[in-house]
Symmetry: C2
Subunit: 722 residues, 2 copies
Amino acid sequence: MKKPNHFFYFISILFMSVNLNVQAQELTLEELLPGGKNYFDFIPNLPLQSRWFGDQVAVSNKDTLYLVNPKSPSKKTLLITNEELRKLLSNERADVNRITFLKTGGTEAASILLPEKNSTRRVLFDIRNKQILKQINQERTWGNLDFFPDNQRIAFTIENNLYLSDENNGLPVEVAKDPDKNSINGQSVHRNEFGIKKGTFWSANGNYLAFYRMDESMVGDYPLVDISAREAELKSIKYPMAGMASHEVTVGVYNLSSGRTVFLKTGDPKNRYFTNLSWSPDEKYLYIAELNRNQDTCTVNCYDIQTGAKERTLFTETNEKYVEPQNPMFFLKRNPELFIWQSKRDGYNQLYLYRTDGELIRKLTSARADVLQILGFDEKEQFIFITSNELSPIETQVYKINIETGERIQLTFEPGVHSAVLSPSGKYLLDNHSSQQTILNQQIIRTENKQSIAFQKASDPYSSYRLPEVSLGSLKAADGASDLYYRLVKPLDFDSTQKYPVIIYVYGGPHSQMVKNNWMAGMRGWDIYMAQKGYVVFTMDNRGTSNRGLAFENVIHRNLGVHETADQMCGVEFLKSLPYVDVTRIGVHGWSYGGFMATNMILRHPDVFKVAVSGGPVIDWKYYEVMYGERYMDTPQENKQGYENVSLLNLAGNLKGHLLLIHGDEDPTVVWQNSLSFLKACIKARTYPDYFIYPGHGHNMSGPDRVHLYEKITRYFDDYLK
Amino acid sequence: MKKPNHFFYFISILFMSVNLNVQAQELTLEELLPGGKNYFDFIPNLPLQSRWFGDQVAVSNKDTLYLVNPKSPSKKTLLITNEELRKLLSNERADVNRITFLKTGGTEAASILLPEKNSTRRVLFDIRNKQILKQINQERTWGNLDFFPDNQRIAFTIENNLYLSDENNGLPVEVAKDPDKNSINGQSVHRNEFGIKKGTFWSANGNYLAFYRMDESMVGDYPLVDISAREAELKSIKYPMAGMASHEVTVGVYNLSSGRTVFLKTGDPKNRYFTNLSWSPDEKYLYIAELNRNQDTCTVNCYDIQTGAKERTLFTETNEKYVEPQNPMFFLKRNPELFIWQSKRDGYNQLYLYRTDGELIRKLTSARADVLQILGFDEKEQFIFITSNELSPIETQVYKINIETGERIQLTFEPGVHSAVLSPSGKYLLDNHSSQQTILNQQIIRTENKQSIAFQKASDPYSSYRLPEVSLGSLKAADGASDLYYRLVKPLDFDSTQKYPVIIYVYGGPHSQMVKNNWMAGMRGWDIYMAQKGYVVFTMDNRGTSNRGLAFENVIHRNLGVHETADQMCGVEFLKSLPYVDVTRIGVHGWSYGGFMATNMILRHPDVFKVAVSGGPVIDWKYYEVMYGERYMDTPQENKQGYENVSLLNLAGNLKGHLLLIHGDEDPTVVWQNSLSFLKACIKARTYPDYFIYPGHGHNMSGPDRVHLYEKITRYFDDYLK
């Protein structure tokens, strides 16, 4: 998220607030929610925006960019002012806060994007000598932009075709153009699963561009309707549903000097997933993690990009439930035959050092916890920097691992969550630390000796407001063994002699972690709002959620919603044990997988939950897409009983309390058919849910409408639970 | 509506009810609503089903068909038993109750439809001699069936094409087949407006078949989505919206002997309405009432069917608001140069005797009230029989009018509503009379001398239940002059010292009359249900509704909803004057135009209405279709200000109370865009309506889901108004 110049505005708001003595005032949804009019006044901002410029930190405030050398952090060296920048770029809207840095042709250059009339101007410039190095006008029609700094060219798409900006900034070069609109070039494939986020992949030196081509001709059209047109218009999408025909993907490699494309000979079956594309540092080979449609076998293959032929298979990973490769190879520069591979094959996400002939050199990590992220290497590539939650599932610390010895050295220590950015040389970390009590504390850490240099702290935007009390804790899952972590928010002005209604806010699906030891324990804006209104708000990560290892996660396989709901009921038992919780007034709210969960909870435990609000819910997994859906549920053909067990259509008759379902009428993720089919099932079963639609919205309601959404949800709880 | 053998079942239910002493029991929605499990037990059935067979009445009960001669009504002559019928037709499901009568080749024949495996067998038989005259197998794929008794052939459609069943019941004959699916042959056109109900028109002796051809290629596709498919499927319809391109209609005449079709040369502009097709008795000419798109000029033209050329224009009717021809010519057999035309040109629907050269012979009626229906002639065509509400707008009586002198003779007298069927000779009327106290009283009336012969009475299906008190009354409209008629239902066990919440059930649109002096004053099942729950239920016909003359109706022109709402507020003032009405608890419910009205009322008078439930509502007339919409609103281009004035999108911010909108997701009449756009407007305006959808339903919810619908509506009122 871009953070515009809100800092000074924010300061003045706080100042004003104090003057007006607003201690008695409560926060509004406009202040608490993204999309709210005053939301940006309450973002925990740092005084200065910072990023690495070599081994110095470039910091910008309102109109000036400085350099800070970690060796003498109190001294600032002026780099450029807005006035100078605007003159240099001949653009009155240029802003030092938007400058980033990158290496082009071996030198560190500044980069900025300037909105022009019908395009965006990308400018690379020498910030010290105030010289423009390169300018490219990015047209509005360009999508999926992938800029490669070294050759200063941009891969981009228009409709289903792929182009390259010309070397001389003249006309674009066609890379892949297809008259068949069902053939999509250069875009993300497989619905962004398996860690896929884009469709173009530059080789190390920019001589080649690998790209996905996706054939969707065999995939069913899912009809979405745009009601904002004068007369409603069809806006179909391709949506491959579980068990149905899916798209087919191939990988092309475009040679910039010859202008020719070689397609890799990935062969049959075509119905597979091609993920984690990794270029060899010498630009000769492309590695692909190839997953079968069953998602139980992942084969990492090497292809010769000149011929497209498969050179060899490096290794194969299998799991009777599923394998989910999420990260590309991480090559060592000092020895391009070596790379690091991430895998959960031993139960947790760990690092493995491999040789490109497929030989495993050694396992680099062995904690009974997940490696969360690779931050990079030191200059000599003696160490790799990672984050891990091995000290506590709700904390994240930074470590360096000796690649030769496997020795692990902890670099951050304050309890809580650390996210860090390594300097290009690996000498320093810019560490962002938050914890329940710490909003955001930025330090510079010398990686050699763990020396920590205080840098800057964000101030609490809510300091002039009373906030509800929030606490973290854990309890045992339904398996009697796993620890589940929760966040508990007490009503504002809590009185232990009172009985309060409680709302469980739930997500509960894979790839999520709601509860961490970060600022205010991750309490959400709406949690605060409801606490102000006198509700207890409770959130807990059940089994199936992430960063807890494979067994904790994949217990949900083929029976989504069952173990998750059982775990949430352990949370309910805990809540019932609290003297101040009114057990007759328990509600639940969730969105997406959380909508599926909320609906599960009120239907499977109709005597426990009085109210549920379920947004964009999956109702029957047969209506969900192939990649995510079949990973967890297999196909409806293979797992008929599982699909029946967990279909909420079959539980529609259980509804006793008040259930409000909400859906965006253009939801391309959890298609509308889910909640509409549920209504139909309820009507047949003579049960009475409530319903609401956000026309024109997709899977989530963003912008100002999000405030309406949460006011709507709040009123529903106020009507039936308060 | 077909009335199956429910009578005896009904009797036994009543009997059981009395035995069980159900006096304290209340009626359920299953009993009160069409679609409910026990609804048919409470239909006011006559003991015997009756229809004319010559000048005798054929009556059937469970398994026997008798004849009753009005001259000796107590005597019954056996015609046929079920046993005989089943033997004759070789079909065990044949039932005397389903026999109808028609003339074929000059003789009165019995006709019956028998469901077979893949078809319906149509059988004509001589009921006295027990001989089958003709059988035709009507395939399931046949639509829009139009059987002509004299030549015993059926015009029917398959998809967009028109066929004739073969004379020898062999293969069908193609009449009009079009490879372009946008060209529709033999079906109703102009969206059933202007009295159009079908697309084929047999000439007097069955030698020709006139039919509509409609070209819809220029009309926008409106996307409907069927969510019951495995993956949601598109089911687009052609929906011409106000001010947008509309379909073009031509009229073809198929000559059965030559097998050739002549299209009438109706010329330009093509964008017109061709209505009320009338054959000359000699089969030489076809008359068409042709209305311009502005709907302010109607020209009645005569075409030569051999050449398709226009012979002449008979006359033209104009009105600065709109002209709405609804009824075809009614030719006199004794002089085929004479016909009767119905028109509101003098302010009320009246009869005009014309000659086919266009000369008006005389105006036959001159009451300041509408002629409601033409029932037929006497044998000599000296008299024409009509129904009219001239005695009271809420009553209907039968009259005969002397065509030569204009003398009018009243034939029915009991106050209330009479609907009558003339015997083929015109000697008798089978008169069905109902009034607030009379459920249904069937008499035979001798038209010569008004002599009335008692025939049979229906018994009250609710006799063992307590029913709420219902009354009729009138009050002054917002114009201070017009009388508006209302029905007022008091809560069951009414206590004049109590204060009750009130629900206005409203329709309020053209072509409707909700309040008449018929059984229980037309009290609806849901009215009874709500009265049982302690609500006052009120319904009133505002200006703009029908059977009250042109000025009463067309005051709404170009500003729909404004006068209607003003009139309904006169009803509210009346309600407020009642000591037992709680003025703080007034709600309103309506569907379709009534949904538009209910939404109007709560938005234009947010301090009056606490709750509204609005089903399938028009929200902005620009989303409504061309024919109906432009008649009342002109086009959005011509009446920009009117459209803006009455668009509920512009009033979305007024919402204060509780408004529940309900829509069928496949509504082809008031398209879903209406209520979805309203939600969008409310979200923008930060108001909070509620919403519900009936998936798979069109403009109305029928079948068992209707019970769910009214339980849903009831709960909403119970939540917020009770």
